[in-house]
Symmetry: C2
Subunit: 418 residues, 2 copies
């Protein structure tokens, strides 16, 4: 059966307009009710998930991301309840003033209207996105991964049951068909979809950038550096580098390249020692390699090629580059960074100041692990994604980043005479 | 000679990075110096402008927009000095807090880096854009209109002389070749250009939307409505409608369609009377036409076709639509609006409240002319454009809208354990 995308998008727009006028408490209640429905639909969701898993190569690393368990579903429901309990950004007056002619101008926060999301395999994201959009008064149009089709459909049924009970238009949450054509339709829904947020790998982001006619917030890809300065503290460096590299290698804030001042190459073995315990393979330039030889397991040591810089490894791998100055470190980072998260380890306040001013990235750290680039860690209570662009939102996005504003101007017949 | 765009964009990025680290006062001084240079290069600029004008059909309405005079150049220079005198948004701390682990998180305003602009014929915009970008610490890459090529080049020479005197990299302001290929290069400069802002007609905006791979802020096109409610005051309505339609018909905030409650069709002749003096042609639906016949000049009265709704006239023309309720007015506006500026004329506070909540537009007015949608009128001191999208900026954009932010996180070795 042919999907009528235009009527889907029209319905979403209408539902979004209605949501934006509901009291914040009704939106939060709908999110709580959806958490309940997720729990009561658990057998059905797990059965659908088992079918998705059965259709997949059991050796694929995607299986673990796709798999739902009663514990994981309960955690998802608890996360939804946490979002419901957050303060609502709705209706906030951001600014207000009076024109010399007596009319008042108010800048008021409002929902986007319709938020489009494109996700890859993980079905937990479906419920997550529902709660973030519902809480902020946005209708949501979701294109999920085809591997998770049955799981997503089962979750969507639970969410729609919650909407029915809350007497909210079911078009407030639309799960698009899982085929690729839906992506193109979503990216071209000018006038219906106010923003599309892709959540996935570099390939997805590139595709969206090439094909979108609607506004996009790019998220995700992180090519992350930590610079160990001439004045770096070895103990802090050891802790921070190991944590940033090995806490979870598959996430975008994981460290990809250690840049080290040549004066401190003698400390490189100590800085890298904890990485050996995690079997991290190091791709080092000539000088770093010389400093590490005989101090780091030979089977985990490789000469770096230029391709190793500017690579998001998402694995137990890290590049090392030695430099003669802070400025050389800044130049290396400017060249290879994806402007996500960058760190310096230094006890020199001037070096820290210069680094934080000069580095062009969403999050710049001094003596702190880049693993903190995360909405939860930033205290936002929820995370929509991590923006790597500069427009609208940068770095971790919380609920307010799913809103825009409008100006409301009130007077008694003012006209413009100049 | 082939233009090497990549090296142009690389140089702009480098210049932008340097600008972002200059003290605000040096940026303001450079803008003031540029105003002086514009004055001292006046003969050269006027000569170049005369050549541009000579190449153009003298009957074209574009001639007036293209023409520079000593008075116009002086006004441009004075505007630049006004921008220089505005408070700088640079370096502002937008938010700051401490994580439970003791590290501090600061959200700091920073320039975009490189702003791309695409403009049509008006050469005054060139100097305007220079001052807005320089003031906010952004490098600017401008694609001007080909009709204004010689004027723009002469203005750019004056601006570059100011940069030379201020010891600022000339790549901080780059005038691209005026051929169409430059637009494509600019729209694809991923990694070099942080945002592109097109200033021009609907055709330009559509082209940019289709072809951009870099983030865009859409500006301009306004299909503007004013709804005269059942409880509207005739005197306020007369003033506001006439001002919104006729103050300047060529601008995006000009009124395109009057929506009127059927109960008030008897007042339509009085509401429209001032428009007749300005020879405004009215495209009215059947009932409005009946109400106006014999009360409005017959030669200025036409039956409306569906195409007349949703048209940005940019001319002495206005559509009229009669409705039976506020909700029918809201539905009409939702269908045809470009979400730029919309107004209601009413003495009923509930109707005003419902209208301002329900209408999805950058600026929503109660008993005020839509002509106020303007950065200067909003008190911003300058205007980058009027955004018709919801991402990043909505409505009139001032200096802060040319900035983004970054997070600076400072600690003493914090790692993430959860």
């Amino acid at each position: 059966m042919e999907t009528n995308y235009r009527s889907l998008f029209e319905a979403a727009r209408k539902a979004g307009a209605a949501l934006g006028n509901l009291p914040a408490e009704r939106l939060s209640d709908a999110v709580r009710s959806a958490a309940d429905m997720l729990r009561s639909h658990m057998p059905e969701i797990l059965a659908a998930n088992a079918e998705d898993l059965a259709a997949m190569d059991p050796a694929s690393p995607l299986c673990d991301r796709l798999r739902l368990t009663p514990e994981r579903l309960e955690a998802i429901a608890a996360d939804m309840e946490a979002v419901a309990a957050l303060p609502s950004p709705q209706g906030e007056t951001l600014d207000a003033w009076t024109h010399p002619n007596g009319m008042t101008i108010r800048k008021v926060r409002v929902p986007f209207g319709v938020v489009g999301m494109i996700c890859e395999a993980r079905p937990n994201v479906t419920a997550d996105i529902f709660s973030l959009c519902m809480k902020t008064g946005n209708a949501c149009v979701l294109k999920g991964g085809s591997d998770a089709r049955r799981s997503n459909e089962a979750i969507a049924r639970a969410l729609h049951e919650a909407l029915r009970r809350a007497e909210i238009d079911r078009a407030a949450f639309t799960l698009l068909p899982s085929d690729h054509a839906a992506v193109g339709e979503l990216l071209n829904a000018v006038g219906y979809v106010d923003v599309v947020i892709p959540r996935g790998g570099a390939g997805l982001i590139r595709f969206v950038r090439e094909h979108a006619r609607v506004p996009v917030i790019e998220t995700g890809a992180g090519i992350v550096h930590t610079y160990f300065d001439a004045a770096g503290d070895v103990e802090k460096g050891r802790r921070v580098i190991c944590n940033a590299k090995t806490r979870r290698v598959s996430v975008c804030n994981a460290l990809d390249c250690l840049v080290i001042h040549r004066d401190r190459l003698g400390d490189l073995p100590a800085l890298c020692a904890p990485l050996a315990e995690h079997h991290v393979t190091l791709y080092a330039d000539r000088e770093a390699l010389a400093a590490l030889t005989d101090h780091y397991p030979a089977e985990l040591l490789r000469p770096a090629t230029d391709d190793d810089y500017g690579t998001e490894f998402l694995d137990y791998k890290m590049a090392i580059r030695s430099v003669s100055s802070l400025d050389e470190a800044l130049a290396h980072i400017a060249r290879y960074s994806s402007r996500h998260s960058e760190a310096i380890i230094t006890e020199d306040p001037l070096a820290a100041e210069r680094f934080t001013r000069r580095v062009d990235a969403a999050c710049v750290y001094v003596n702190v692990s880049t693993a903190f680039t995360d909405g939860g860690q930033f205290g936002f209570g929820a995370e929509v994604g991590i923006s790597t662009q500069k427009l609208h939102a940068r770095g971790p996005m919380g609920l307010p980043e799913l809103t825009t504003y409008k100006y409301i101007v009130t007077g008694d017949g003012q006209i413009r005479t100049s």
